[in-house]
Symmetry: D2
Subunit: 472 residues, 4 copies
């Protein structure tokens, strides 16, 4: 939706076109008007604002503040306003400070002075936080769905490559062989936690603050529980001062989003590494890369790079809102207006990044020979050798020491562990027997790790099945 | 606990005194040793490390890797090590890189080579995150208790001052009268959310990562569910790669702590304001203030100022850990070592700040005359006037406009609203009747706000009762 | 400038409308195209891009790569493109990834294949950082001018109120009397440091990176010093790898901006405090405040509140760019694209905030009686009493102790220091003589502080003169 | 220096052992005493505190406030205190709030009541910022020296490997050949900017704030310029309110440090990449790596990983201090105490990291064959081919397109560019002549980039010479 503005004067409900102008003598300074306007940002809330206003009108009717006819007129008018906004036919006026004032102003144009009854027993302070909570509820549901979709893609790729062995890394050094499927499922687990965090946040988001007035509550006998039912809120705020100045839920959402994109930054880093000429583990689809303006051969992993870069943006928004809340006395302060742009941009950024990661993973071409080659080298079986000695009753710490010496000598002689004969090995320890050679296989190393969470194929397959069922 | 170190040589379990030295030819550089050592920070985990190691030994015994006797010897040895550490008799050696290595080294000194069997099927990667999760579980339980204690103090003061009216503020401008008790309970609600966030975090903290090995799982047929039962973990990590590189729970805890101290920074700001000569709403106890080295009359609200200042510290730790996790490839990377100092300092800072806030609030002397005086002035009843007109069927928006003009004229004439006669009021609107004068009382304004969350005394009293019951 | 886009196909310079498409088989994914496009952000650089391109064409001509005629055609074409952009007649196409590609594409449409010669020996990597440096050079010059204008307003108000005494605060407690002019000039000093920081940053901004190519330099014998002269750069980058991946100047600018707005947040806090009913030191002009949608009497200091809130936004941008740079290998990575939105928004935010502060301070109505009243109370003269005793040879530390006791007793008896008679004082110390009473005046306290930086009127007046001359 | 504390009572200079206790009735709460104490942190400033106090005593003497004898006694006493601290013989008492109070307390113990004259005309507010500025002046000089030492190491390695060609990267994709020396010198340039930033910061650090008193200046006719000369400050603060509340220089230093460690994080990332099995460009010395507790073959690049991780720590400190300064009213507030721990830790972290980077680079074993092999592959010469066509008058944009197609076909056929014959090439463009084959060499590609900042050997050598001379 694009904002349309017009210089034509508003119908004169109040001096200066402001709905709060009674006490004021001077017009608002132009630069101030631009500076304090939040319309460009908060017009995104128009649908929630109409929804909340309709519920408020119904509640006022139930409380006897509005007659049935007045309520019906207001609701009908609000629906007209919403249709104008849906169809991008709504004309914003220069004096519209925010979407809430714009909608009320337009409502009164459409239905006359009775429109001025809508704001009875309500303040922008409780109205705006109600709108934002409604919006977040929807946005998080949608994001959760996108994350699930991304998980499904990871699972599909894991299933497709269930037999592919690759080096597992610590410190970016090859460490032990793992299944590519196991590696991909690690991200499924991270995303599962992310969804749980968002769900937990929802219990604190889905609280109705309407009825808190400006700060002290409302003078009208409104039934807040009724409004909450109309709007699908699961509980009521219990303190009006807190309700209008609480932005915990914004910060908590931003924190959860920061962790999501941190996870994506790790995946992005891996995609950048894996598509380098040095790794060559995967190829990204052409349609997800761009070229160089100067170097004709380049195919750059722009999308993962940009996701990695956008991590800073989301972190910055989190810290921005934390900073703005620091040290504010109760209750509402205008500083709070700054919460929305940060939140919306973080939501958009994370949502797009999740969708792109799903597409990236879905389009990944896995270079099986390169992965196999990498898993073969690098002494990835050294731990197997140490554990072999442990089964021969050597304390692990000594087995580790012995194996360390074997590896060191192999490096010096540029030999692979698997080229060692039994007699070679027995130089280091007489505990080595013939069966040690069976231990030195990638497949064996994988299969032995069959405990919950291990990389054994059976274990990974069983986790895959659980996840497929849960996310299917 | 203070770290004791000694230059005396370790018993020579391995070259260079390192438990991983087999592969290495050179000694570790001295500056490197200091730089990479985490002992000063992670010795705080010693008790959890022993606890986890005991459970690991029991699990190895059950899996047939350790004999019953070996397990018993190791467990007895670990308990001796713990007692040394408890009694501050443990001597750290220069080569002890971290608490885990120090404990294993000492264990082997005490019980001989069998100590070298403890690390079978385990890596520091899964060990350290297990220790940290155990530690956090305790730390959050303790913090939650401190928060509850703080809430109780707020509730006690609210109960004690249930009849005290004060100005409620928005934009730091006097807005509407509220009960001081209502204001204090706003912080109880914030703290209630804080505890819920910490409880939610706990579901992701209380997961057992032991058994993930270095990254790929373990070669031994250990029963991870058994270990989890021994350690009181409620679930198992399901992916070894994820388990050793996951620090979500650290970030999530830091985020929750950042919100706690943000709340305290708001309370601190209010205490600073309220104890200023301009407000004079409260007096802080002498024992919580300090004087000036130069100005003999000063009594400074140092404690709330410092808490406010320490907000930056906690935010900084959150950012620090988010930054360090950004873009790390799987699985474990040494960068992760940096998580603990940030976490511990944030926990300490928030815990102390909560305790101090409890004491500050508990010791607060409330200046009732000053609050009453402030509530009397400032046109706090203007909204009541507007709402009166609404009951006379004027649309709220017009009632707001009329009242705004009345206030403006009162300001010009330096009159209080309550000095206006009925005929004065009727100049602005013929809807005013005699009963309007009943509307213009602080008590009435308070009492009309009786909806859930409102500041009416009955409503505040009923919330107080609910909270007292819940937190008693 | 608004972006206009059109679905009409570009002239087919290359497949898919991309200028780097030769190596690619697939079209770019639509979501990717939106995600990677920076056009909405970087079109702000169009004028600098044309400027840089003209200098590049001249340099290529001088190097013999372009003929005089070719260069002239290109320059003429670039000027036509600029005029289209100036007049908002430029039509952006869906395939325009960024402003650089859009301009080159349009140039080639206008002048034919010779347009394809402009990018010889240049990459977007060196081009974009050159544009950004040109832009920043102008933006900082303009910001510095705005800061100076703000300083002038502060100076004017200081001059106007040179005789107004107010309480100086530490810990938000009244401490010693100061001149309001002295207080206002404190902000002039802060702004002076801010300008110096920006000037220092400029020495690292005003460096020409053009000629660094994609990362390794250029194959053409271009005279980079000539280009630098054409563009007014004061030095050349000395390492091509560094030049294309350096964003220090962005971070440094953001840091300097963060400090500027931190200063403004302090001023804003003071304006919020001073315009509260408790302080009443100043009144903000109606045109800089807004009202409440619910409470008719409210006049809220929205502008300082929002500036204070926007502090978080600027901090967030700084941290965002720091985060994105962390751990990036050399040389250019696509992550860097994320630098511009943060930078532009921070520049806009700080520039507007500075201008608004100038207007706020310029429009401030100072409440002299309130300031005088506040300065009279609060034992602000206690230090004078202690210093009096020092002149009677009592060590300061003992004088401080004696005066502390006097103050304590006065507080208990609700007496002001100036009501004490000589005999009252001599109860505490026999060193008090008749002349002590002369010491206990606000004017005297002010006048004694006549050292450089002190609040004595003569000293403040002399600093005012220096500043007026420097900034006039 | 370790802090020694004792429970033995202080000599009773004042009640409660506090130097500001006169006004107070209650003892300070124990938890408060611990919470507000900064001694553990600020004892690091002891030497600067003594230095500043000596200069203050001299200034008081010159102003006639202290007699010559008194000044001499005080200075002698201060020197004794310093010797106690130097020798770690100083006993801190429980009531010592900070190093300033501890030193004054001890001074008075040593020389009697005349010690109480030292604090005449001074406050901790101006004292502490003076000490911190003195400390920073030294710390930055020392850090600058360490950076220079690191640069020298980079230069030495560059000189040693002046003939080594490696692939230059953009987007972590091989892009064009560069000299390893050119790559190393990129970091020298970064460090050069870092030093310039620190030097610029110094102009704002090296300002004397002593004489500002608590906030308003001092009542004594002290000659501040004289004190500044004694302490080597190059200018005087010009506004006392600003001077005691200014922490710009802390933030500016932290920003500069954040950029330094950001640079080191990039180098660290490269060292981690380069020492991976996939790159194998370098080997780190054993003495800078550690092993795995579980996997015997591991040699982990812990030091660069930890430096990369510590980036978060320094960013966090910057954010922490920015946060604490946000919205503080003038002048001094206790929040400011929180600046020092962040600053000291950032200084220590960056200093150690710089030193370790110097050692890491110095000890780097470069794998020339691996670098050569990597430079041979990857179509790094594609740009040369395009530029060849440009010299045959094809517009660059078309040359880029033609070359892109050649590369694409080579990839499909798994051929290297250098295996193409002239007739192969002429399929794509008749502009290719026999001399094109001369273009396709790594050396040629390097040598053509001879402009300022380019990677040509001559150019790199000449830059090396300049840097060696400047930094030698």
């Amino acid at each position: 939706m694009k904002k349309k503005t017009s210089q034509q004067a508003s119908t004169k409900t109040t001096p200066h076109g402001k709905l709060w102008g009674g006490r004021f003598r001077e017009h608002t300074n132009r630069l101030v008007e631009t500076f304090t306007s939040s319309l460009e940002i908060d017009q995104r809330l128009y649908s929630q604002d109409v929804q909340g206003s309709i519920a408020h009108a119904q509640t006022l009717n139930r409380a006897g503040v509005l007659t049935k006819r007045e309520a019906a007129t207001i609701i009908e008018g609000l629906n007209r306003v919403r249709r104008e906004l849906d169809a991008d036919r709504f004309i914003f006026l220069p004096h519209d400070e925010d979407i809430h004032m714009a909608i009320e102003r337009r409502l009164t144009e459409l239905i006359g002075p009775v429109g001025g009854k809508l704001h009875t027993g309500r303040s922008r302070n409780d109205q705006v936080t109600t709108d934002l909570r409604l919006y977040l509820r929807e946005a998080l549901a949608s994001l959760t769905g996108e994350i699930t979709q991304f998980q499904r893609t990871l699972i599909t790729q894991a299933r497709r490559h269930i037999d592919v062995i690759m080096p597992g890394y610590t410190h970016l050094q090859r460490a032990q062989p793992v299944l590519l499927a196991h590696h991909l499922l690690a991200y499924v687990e991270m995303m599962e936690r992310d969804k749980n965090r968002l769900r937990n946040a929802l219990t604190r988001i889905n609280v109705m603050s309407l009825g808190s007035g400006a700060l002290a509550g409302t003078n009208y006998a409104v039934d807040r529980a009724y409004t909450a039912r109309l709007l699908g809120f699961s509980s009521l705020s219990e303190n009006s001062l807190d309700a209008v100045s609480d932005r915990d839920y914004v910060i908590e959402t931003l924190s959860a989003l920061a962790i999501v994109i941190m996870h994506l930054s790790r995946l992005s880093e891996e995609l950048v590494l894996w598509s380098s000429q040095e790794f060559q583990f995967v190829e990204l689809p052409d349609s997800f890369c761009t070229g160089s303006s100067m170097m004709p051969q380049k195919k750059n992993p722009d999308v993962p790079e940009l996701i990695r870069g956008k991590t800073g943006r989301v972190y910055g928004h989190l810290l921005g809102v934390l900073t703005l809340m620091k040290g504010l006395p109760l209750s509402y302060n205008r500083d709070l207006q700054e919460d929305k742009e940060a939140l919306f941009d973080a939501l958009d950024t994370v949502s797009t990044s999740v969708k792109l990661c799903a597409e990236l993973i879905g389009g990944l071409a896995v270079n099986r020979p390169a992965l196999a080659h990498a898993a073969e080298s690098g002494y990835l079986l050294a731990t197997e050798l140490a554990d072999y000695l442990v089964t021969r009753s050597l304390p692990f710490r000594e087995a580790h020491e012995v194996t360390g010496r074997i590896v060191r000598d192999c490096i010096d002689q540029r030999r692979d562990l698997r080229t060692l004969s039994l007699s070679d090995l027995r130089v280091y320890s007489s505990l080595f027997e013939k069966d040690v050679l069976d231990v030195l296989t990638l497949e064996g190393a994988i299969e032995r790790k069959a405990q919950v969470g291990g990389t054994a194929r059976s274990r990974v397959a069983s986790r895959l099945k659980v996840l497929e069922k849960a996310l299917g």
